[in-house]
């Protein structure tokens, strides 16, 4: 643990950064994001099974940007978001100093013992336990508990249903939405200056948390992340209404992989899925 503090402090003392995004402990089973702007503020920095947040979300926030070069502690999945932000010109590589964390999985939520039961679903089958991009790397990868990928099973189950049955499932889920936009705000890739859901001329997405407003919002949110979502699952964790948003995000990621062999957030130099095309893209559904 001393290691973390030392590393964080050194980022300041070596003049590499002006501020560092890291995690501080609240109690043994909780952490929260913290922006240290002075070396001594890093004293409570911690790395454990409860570093759930994807701190990348802060890299596009105005109040964070004003500090200039930012150091960031990032798990492999968080780094995927950094890669996506690089692909989308949102950050400059030289403006971010990445302390990559070799990750052995995190808890699905706070206040629980880490085990195969409580491991976050995104950690199963994780292929970026060592981040793809970093300036320095800390920690080591170790054996990780194995668990069933319940979400994948659910996706497969839904795929097999009839349209009407699918509709009913999602109507019920979307109906819970209260339009608090925690999903959007927690998403590292939802950085638009003005979200389409906040635009009133024209009102593509009705702002009411009515059934149809909720339906439009959740579909378009998923679509705007299609081929971009890096699967950190912060949206779902942020949702106070426990809508299984990752069903849509993961389904879209699966389509991206099946159709285009595209996995987001792996290489900043890859052309983005939307924004490029191939002459041989699937045609079969077009008459």
């Amino acid at each position: 643990m001393d290691d973390i503090k030392k590393i964080a402090r050194e980022l300041f003392t070596s003049g590499k950064v002006n501020a560092v995004l890291g995690y501080v402990s609240i109690n043994g089973q909780r952490t929260k994001p913290f922006l240290a702007t002075k070396p001594e503020e890093t004293d409570n920095f911690i790395i454990n099974k409860y570093i759930l947040n994807n701190l990348t979300v802060y890299l596009t926030k105005k109040e964070i940007l004003k500090y200039g070069k930012i150091g960031i502690f990032a798990k492999g999945c968080d780094v995927k978001a950094i890669v996506a932000l690089l692909q989308e010109s949102q950050i400059k590589r030289e403006e971010v100093y990445i302390v990559g964390i070799n990750c052995n999985g995190v808890c699905a939520d706070f206040d629980m013992e880490f085990s195969g039961e409580t491991i976050a679903l995104k950690c199963l089958n994780c292929e970026v336990r060592t981040p793809k991009l970093y300036d320095e790397l800390i920690g080591t990868t170790e054996e990780m508990p194995k668990a069933d990928d319940g979400k994948l099973k659910m996706i497969r189950k839904i795929e097999a249903l009839s349209s009407a049955e699918k509709w009913d499932i999602f109507e019920e889920q979307f109906d819970k939405c209260i339009k608090c936009y925690a999903c959007r705000q927690a998403c590292p890739l939802c950085y638009c200056e003005r979200c389409i859901s906040d635009k009133s001329v024209p009102r593509w997405i009705e702002s009411s948390a009515s059934k149809r407003g909720n339906f439009s919002w959740n579909i378009i949110r998923a679509f705007h992340l299609a081929g971009r979502c890096i699967g950190c699952n912060e949206c779902e964790r942020a949702c106070p209404m426990e809508i299984p948003l990752s069903l849509l995000n993961r389904k879209m990621a699966m389509v991206a992989q099946e159709e285009f062999k595209y996995v987001s957030g792996l290489d900043p130099n890859t052309p983005t899925l939307i924004g490029s095309y191939d002459l041989k893209d699937d045609e079969d559904f077009i008459e």
Partner: protein, 666 residues
């Protein structure tokens, strides 16, 4: 907003199936519609005057005409509206004829649909903005890509009209395929004899800047304002010093290593060479691949013999930038390679004809070289394998053309004629020779063409067999051609001394690459697409880019020359005015909303999106946003649809307008 609605009966054309009175009545209840009338012929002068008068009397600031397709009369009505003092872009057309009255029978239903379409248009026009056409200056210089007969003709026409031309040819000499031909149909005059003067004229023309052994590397900008980067490939010969004496080529010790491209690989050439004696410019190039100096530095014979020190082994490719207003693409064709190794997996090739395996199975261009007085046999008919005079030649047409299963579904158009010519030329020189032609149909449309073919058959005794050849194999120095005579209904076998395959004309291998460089469309075959096959056959859909010759589709010389002159005329039309008017329906960025993800830039086919830095008052960059180059933007709106927050919008088709149309559905 005060909107006037005008419903046209189009005589009976609309009125017969659409109750125009009911439509006009229904429209009168739409919000903001203050005037709604119908009339027999809205596009007629009285009709247009009705619109103008209503604008004046009622102070209308929006007009919707329910009439024929906007592709027909949008311009007419916009002009009328404009004449009455209202911005022309505040006029919308609802298509009540092509999309309603002509395609539906039930009057009730058709009328309902017409009312819906009117409602869409009314809702849209409410959100239209007054727009002004964009004016851009025109650089009156033309780039001609390709120095074959089409490129030569286009360059000369434009230059003779008094405008500068840059002619770029990738080979060391201009002349193209026409310079390889022996005689031309249907007049049988010598190809080089008619071409060479044109080549020289190009070379000497004060308005033509000739750049051979060069390729177009990059095209930026837009109609009237292109910036073109041309790669001048290293010749390793200084063209300002070389006198064209040819000593270097004569002395070059490499004699049997490189096959002559000009002679279609039927002869050798040296490592330093001019492709053919009449080459323009008459300046050699060094083939780096075979030259001993480039291999091991051990030879420099050419340096020794060159009296003018023109050999420069250290020459590098040069990049030259040119300001261009119009581009004429005349990159021509190549012949379908029917080798055992087909170039594309979907093309299976014609391995059974033995091309590449048997030396005496040649393609059309090779036969041209054999027939040509300047060719490897000096015009004597000799077979490539042993130099003997072939006494029996089989010509096979449609090899790759009109063959969906193995080649291409299109007709290569010229083969019927050149095969007749080949057979004729052969018969003229080898009087006792026999010429057989396997054909599918004879397509001899063209001035004096049919007569030409008849002459081959009737006067020169060329034997035409309607049918296909299934197989060719060698037996005792003969080529056994097995085929079918479908008219007689019998299998047929000919023991030929030589076989000539009329292989399909196909697009240049790198045609798509050039299309992407320029940013213009091409078809599945790699031929460049014209805007309209009938009415705009020489224009590419990219503004300021014109097409000439076989790069567009298979063409013979007269057609190519005609097309080249047409393309030149199109370029000259462009140069007729100093400023260019462009439709104002282009994209526009709301910089406050733009988050700078540049997805718009990624999807723009015209490189019209630039990066603009937004700075605070101290000059610090706050953010980078998209910026639309109004000259480059063509108004497709792909950026608009891609932008997640709709910070970029296509004027004339804004989200608000389209939304309003959708919302008017129910």
């Amino acid at each position: 907003m005060k909107i006037g609605v005008f419903i046209c009966h189009c005589g009976e054309n609309i009125g017969r199936t659409v109750d125009c009175v009911r439509v006009a009545k229904a429209c009168s209840f739409f919000p903001n519609v203050v005037h709604s009338v119908e009339y027999k012929y809205m596009c007629s002068d009285p009709g247009q005057n009705m619109i103008k008068q209503a604008i004046k009397d009622l102070k209308l600031d929006g007009v919707v005409v329910g009439s024929c397709s906007p592709h027909m009369h949008e311009k007419t009505f916009r002009k009328a509206v404009s004449d009455a003092g209202v911005n022309p872009f505040l006029c919308e057309i609802a298509n009540l004829r092509e999309h309603v009255s002509w395609v539906h029978d039930d009057k009730e239903v058709a009328t309902d649909k017409a009312i819906d379409l009117m409602r869409f248009a009314v809702e849209k026009v409410k959100r239209n903005a007054p727009l002004k056409t964009i004016q851009v200056p025109v650089t009156k210089r033309t780039l001609v890509i390709g120095g074959g007969i089409a490129g030569i003709q286009a360059a000369l026409d434009v230059a003779n009209a008094g405008y500068e031309v840059v002619l770029v040819e990738k080979e060391p000499s201009i002349g193209g395929h026409m310079s390889q031909l022996s005689e031309t149909f249907p007049t049988l005059d010598c190809s080089q004899c008619i071409l060479t003067p044109r080549m020289v004229e190009v070379y000497q023309h004060p308005k033509i800047k000739l750049m051979t052994y060069s390729e177009v590397e990059k095209v930026e900008g837009f109609i009237g304002n292109f910036k073109v980067t041309i790669r001048k490939k290293a010749r390793f010969v200084d063209d300002t010093l070389c006198s064209g004496c040819g000593d270097c080529a004569i002395k070059c010790p490499i004699k049997k290593k490189a096959l002559s491209e000009f002679d279609e690989k039927l002869a050798f050439r040296s490592a330093i060479y001019v492709p053919f004696p009449q080459a323009v410019p008459n300046i050699p190039v060094i083939d780096k691949e075979v030259c001993t100096y480039f291999k091991n530095g051990k030879c420099s014979m050419c340096v020794k013999v060159c009296g003018r020190n023109a050999i420069k082994f250290d020459q590098q490719d040069e990049f030259i930038s040119e300001d261009i207003g119009a581009i004429i693409v005349a990159t021509g064709y190549k012949l379908y390679t029917i080798d055992k190794k087909p170039e594309a997996s979907e093309i299976k090739g014609y391995g059974e004809y033995g091309y590449g395996k048997y030396k005496d199975v040649v393609d059309g261009l090779q036969f041209e070289r054999i027939a040509s007085a300047s060719g490897p046999t000096s015009g004597e008919f000799q077979r490539p394998s042993d130099g003997k005079t072939p006494k029996k030649i089989v010509f096979i047409q449609c090899v790759g053309s009109r063959d969906e299963s193995k080649g291409f579904s299109y007709c290569s158009k010229i083969c019927c004629m050149y095969t007749a010519k080949h057979a004729m030329l052969y018969k003229h020189k080898v009087h006792d020779g026999e010429a057989y032609v396997f054909y599918m149909d004879i397509r001899a449309g063209g001035k004096m063409y049919e007569e030409f073919v008849r002459r081959a058959i009737e006067e020169d005794g060329v034997k035409y067999i309607r049918g296909r050849v299934s197989r060719i194999y060698e037996e005792d120095g003969k080529y056994i051609v097995k085929g079918e005579d479908t008219l007689a209904g019998v299998p047929i076998q000919i023991d030929a001394d030589m076989v000539v395959l009329a292989t399909a004309m196909v697009a240049q291998t790198d045609a798509p690459k050039l299309a992407q460089t320029i940013g213009m469309p091409y078809d599945n075959y790699g031929f460049y697409s014209e805007v309209h096959p009938k009415l705009r056959p020489v224009e590419s859909s990219t503004g300021g880019v014109f097409l000439a010759g076989a790069c567009n589709s298979p063409r013979d010389i007269p057609d190519s020359v005609a097309m080249a002159s047409a393309a030149a005329a199109k370029a000259l039309v462009l140069f007729g005015s100093d400023m260019l008017e462009r439709e104002p329906t282009i994209a526009f960025v709301n910089e406050n909303l733009c988050a700078g993800c540049f997805y718009c830039k990624k999807v723009c086919a015209y490189n019209a999106i630039e990066v603009k830095q937004i700075k605070d008052k101290n000059g610090n960059v706050i953010k980078e946003v998209a910026f639309v180059n109004s000259g480059l933007c063509q108004g497709c709106g792909t950026c608009n649809a891609t932008c997640p927050s709709k910070a970029i919008e296509l004027i004339g088709y804004t989200d608000e307008q389209i939304y309003a149309e959708i919302a008017a559905l129910m």
